[in-house]
Structure formats: structure tokens, C-alpha cells
């Protein structure tokens, strides 16, 4: 697969604060790329550099085979950005907002009407076009933000915590649209999120901490590298579990054993068949990966 974003040895400081340090990674075309880190880890700085909003101190940023500084305006037509907080005009109607933003990409008149129709169908906001943006609910607003980012059919969609604070139904609608875009238009999605279950669905994950890259890989690679497996055993006494000699914790109606990997889990089960009559083996979660590599936990937008 083609590399659509390639960042090498990127540095950016604000005075004494080193926001990004020696950051290198690449994003392949069509993939869902998760960019994780606690607040202040350097995610927004990196995104702002990619979008041409911020100058880098050093390093290279190549978007779709072109260095960013070569032709930043052409690069901008390839990017669609959904900001963390809506930055559309609250006093204008949905249609006026989208009309003014579409014009920035030269989309006007019949071309705009056609695109608006497509997007309003795709994101189910046909009935909201005349409504003032400031009067929309959080979920409705987010759908309009996504429509704005998609107006010019970008190759790369940057989503900066797109589902934070949204209800499960709206999150589902938004993810269905994003999945469809990836499937039908081979759109690359660059995602930052605090929801680890969203990151778990990514094709590739990069974790930042204090401006530095601390882990990268597919969710499976990261889970295998940074977390072990877990065996949940049901209908056994604690004394029996203790005798197995593995680290464990009691959970509701069961005990959860930590083992280094699947091979160790298999060995334990084979050696103690009388204990493992009702059990399940699970991989560690992305939360565990994040906790292991950064020492911090992310839960729905807040650092713990």
C-alpha cells in the first residue's frame, strides 16, 4: 500500500516546551490510523503541522508524495479536518455554513447543490439544512462538521476526537459513515481518540507521550508486545486459583488470571485440566497497552 503521510524526525518546540521530538511514522493509503496520547502529548501540534497551520522546527512531512512546504495549497485540498470542537459559524444556517466553506475549495452553484445533497443523505441531515447551527444538538453538530470536512472529497480525513461526548447511537452513525467512505472511496482516516475501543479497530496505532513516539504497530502487535493474556475461570474456589501460582484478581462470579502470552495460558490449562472446566482466554485491551507504554490511563477524554 502507498504511504500517503510520511513524517520523519519531526521537531517542534514552543519556547522551552518540546511539543514534538524526533517523531517519525507513516500512514498508508486507505487505512484507519489511530494517533493516541494524553492531552499535551503532541497530537494536536502534529496535526496542525500536517494541515499547514503551524511551522515545524525541523524534519520532513510528505503528504501524497509531496513535501508539505513544496505546495501547501495543493496539499490542503487533500485534507479534510474535523476539529475537536466545532468551528463552524453558530449564527448561520447549516446550508449557509456549508456553502461558505465549499466556496473555499471552488465548489459553488450547481456543483455545491449536488454535493450538499449527497452529504445530507449520507449523514442524514436533509431536514436540518435551514436550521441555525447554534440550535443543533451535539450529535447533529458533529454530523455537520463531518460534512464540512468531506465537501471537497479529501483523500485524507483527519478526525480529532470526533466522538467525544456523543451518545452511542450518534457514534454508531458516524462510524458507519467513516467505514463506508473508507470502503467506497479508499479514504485514509487519521484518528485521534480517547476511546480505546475505537483505537482497537484501527489498522495501525501510534502512541505519543510527552512529544515522543513510545509505541507503534497494529493493535494485535501492540497487545502481544505490551500486554499478556487473561484467563477468566468460573465456578472455582479462590484457594484452587491461588494454588495455580499465577497472578490473579477476583471479578464478579469469577477470577481473572494474568499470563505472559497465549502459550503460557495453554500450558497452564493443559497442566491443570481439573481447574479449567469453565473458562475463557482473552487478549489484553488497548487500555492495557496504553497504560503499559505511558503509565497513564485514558478514559473517555480524561487522563487518569
Amino acid at each position: 500500500m502507498k504511504r500517503i503521510i510520511e513524517i520523519n524526525n519531526l521537531y517542534k518546540s514552543f519556547g522551552d516546551v518540546k511539543a514534538v521530538q524526533d517523531l517519525s511514522f507513516c500512514v498508508k493509503e486507505g487505512e484507519l490510523f489511530a494517533f493516541l496520547g494524553v492531552n499535551g502529548a503532541g497530537k494536536s501540534t502534529t496535526i496542525n503541522i500536517i494541515c499547514g497551520q503551524l511551522a515545524k522546527d525541523s524534519g520532513t512531512v510528505v503528504i501524497d508524495d509531496k513535501p508539505l512546504e513544496e505546495d501547501v495549497n495543493t496539499t490542503k485540498t487533500k485534507l479534510g479536518v474535523v476539529f475537536q470542537n466545532s468551528v463552524l459559524d453558530k449564527a448561520l444556517s447549516v446550508k449557509d455554513n456549508l456553502r461558505s466553506r465549499a466556496a473555499l475549495y471552488g465548489i459553488t452553484g450547481a456543483e455545491f447543490t449536488k454535493r450538499l445533497e449527497e452529504l445530507s443523505k449520507m449523514l442524514s441531515f436533509e431536514d436540518l439544512l435551514k436550521r441555525t447551527l447554534g440550535k443543533l444538538s451535539g450529535g447533529q453538530l458533529r454530523r455537520i462538521d463531518i460534512a464540512r470536512a468531506l465537501l471537497h472529497r479529501p483523500k485524507i480525513l483527519i478526525l480529532d476526537e470526533p466522538t467525544t461526548g456523543l451518545d452511542p447511537q450518534t457514534r454508531k452513525i458516524i462510524w458507519n459513515v467513516i467505514d463506508k467512505l473508507r470502503r467506497d472511496e479508499n479514504m485514509t482516516v487519521f484518528l485521534t481518540t480517547h476511546y480505546m475501543e475505537e483505537a482497537a479497530d484501527a489498522d495501525y496505532v501510534v502512541i505519543l507521550d510527552s512529544g515522543r513516539l513510545v509505541a507503534k504497530g497494529t493493535p494485535l502487535e501492540l497487545k502481544n508486545k505490551y500486554t499478556g493474556d487473561f484467563i477468566t475461570i468460573y465456578n472455582v474456589e479462590e484457594e484452587t486459583v491461588k494454588a495455580l501460582g499465577a497472578k490473579y484478581e477476583p471479578i464478579k462470579d469469577a477470577f481473572r488470571l494474568s499470563v505472559p502470552n497465549t502459550a503460557a495460558a495453554t500450558k497452564l490449562i493443559v497442566e491443570n485440566p481439573e481447574v479449567f472446566k469453565d473458562f475463557e482466554i482473552t487478549k489484553g485491551k488497548m487500555d492495557d497497552v496504553f497504560l503499559t507504554v505511558t503509565g497513564k490511563a485514558l478514559t473517555g477524554g480524561a487522563e487518569k
Partner: protein, 299 residues
Amino acid sequence: MKIFRELTRRNIILFFKDKGMFFTSLITPAILLVLYATFLGNVFKDSFMTVLPEGLKLSDEILNGLVGGQLMSSILAVSCVTVAFCSNMLMVQDKVNGSIKDLTISPVKSSTLALSYYFATLVSTLIICLSATAICLVYVASIGWFMSACDVLMLVLDVFLLVMFGTALSSVIHFFLSSQGQMSAVGTIISAGYGFICGAYMPISSFSEGLQKVLSFLPGTYGTSLVRSHSVRGTFEEMKSIGLPDDAINSMKDGIDCNMYFFGREVDTSVKYLVLVLSTVVLIAIYVALNANKRKKRR
């Protein structure tokens, strides 16, 4: 051009939809109107009477025409600049609420974006100031009308040029602002101070000689002088026709800044226009250059 048109349209709609910005921009003309109606009008009337030659009496219509013209010119000279500062708040608000990020992630040129703010402010301010001009003309007509059609046209031209100047000045100053607090502070300073330094509240001729010299370097004062000259020219013509000596008329013109002096030399009307136009062009060039430079730095 399409981008510029749509951005300008957006900015104008946002200004008129934002009741806060719209009503704030009307505060200065409204305060001035109340000030003149309650006591300043009488103060000016009395001061004119004192400079009249002994034994000469002017009709109430002429006196009212002169005071009304001065009132109109003061309101318009201040409003063209203060209203522009209020209308141009959108530029700062876009920075405060982050909308500017959404505009600059698109391939729009920084000069297009900058000029769209300028042009939208120009249009909004013109709508308000030309409405104010119409109201003032109706008021002057009701108390003492001596203006010719040419005076009215010249007055409209003066308003247009002053609005262009005010918009350019506010664009350069607002470029450096990035918070609500800064915006309020500048708005307050301009509303309170500009009327004095441009000679709208009190004629510059009534200030000390040193201050007069300093103020003669400010282009806005020439705009005020132009607006005032065209507002009261007809009234002075009428005074001349009924036999008021030229010296008395000239001294009245000096007293209300129809005649402007730069280090003792009288400034010609064409030079006043030149100063206003050139300063506007320079301010616009500075504003566009500031925006282009900012974008370059970002890269």
C-alpha cells in the same frame, strides 16, 4: 473571485446576525445624537453668536442650519471610524472562537481572506453610515436646509472615503488582537477617544497650538474637515449673500475646522482628499502584507 464573494457574504451576514456587534456599532452615533440634542447644540449656537459682528443678526434658520450641519458632520466623522471598528470585530471573533482555523485549513489565499474581512466591514459600515447620513440630512432639512445637490453628493463621497479609511485602520489594529478582552479595550478607547482627536466632539481649533500641530499629522482630521466643509458650505454661502463679511465667515470656518492648517499653512481641499486616499491605500497595503507575512511564518 468566487471565494472572495462567498467569504464576504459570510462576513456580512454574520455581522448583521450578531445583535451584539450590530447594536454596539450604533452606540456612538446614538450617544452623539443625544449629546447634541440635549446641550451641545445650544453651546455651539451660543458660540456662533459671539463671533458675529456687532449689530448683525442671523435668522434662526441660518443658525440652525449651521449647528445642524456641524452636528451631522460630527456624527458622521466619528461613526465612519467607530462603526468600522465594531463591524470589523468579526475578524477577532473568528480567532477567539477558532473559526479562522477552519478557513485557513482550506487553500484560500491569505490576501483573499484578509480582503474579504475588509470588504465585508466596508459594506456593513457603509450601510449603517449611509443610513445615518440619510437620517441626518432629514434632520438638517427640518431645521434649516442650505445644502445643494452637489454638497450632498460630496458629503456621500466623504462618508465613503472615511469609511474606507476607518475600515483600513481597524483592519490593521484588529490584526494584532486575539482575545475578547483586547477587542473590548480597543473598542472602548476608539469610541471614547477618536471623536476628540479627529475634531468631531470639539473643533481642533479650540485645542492648544502644540496639540493642533500633533493632530494635524492624523489623516482622520482631514476627513472630519471635509465632511464638515460640505455640511455647512451652503449655510456660509447664505450668510455671504445676506452681507456677512468674508472675514467673519472665514473666522467661523476656522473655528469649526472647515479650514485646516498644517504648521500654519492652510490645507487645500484636494490635499485633504489626497491625504485621506493615500493613508487608506497605505493602511490596506500594510494589512495585506501583515496577513501574507503571518501565513509565510506558519510555513
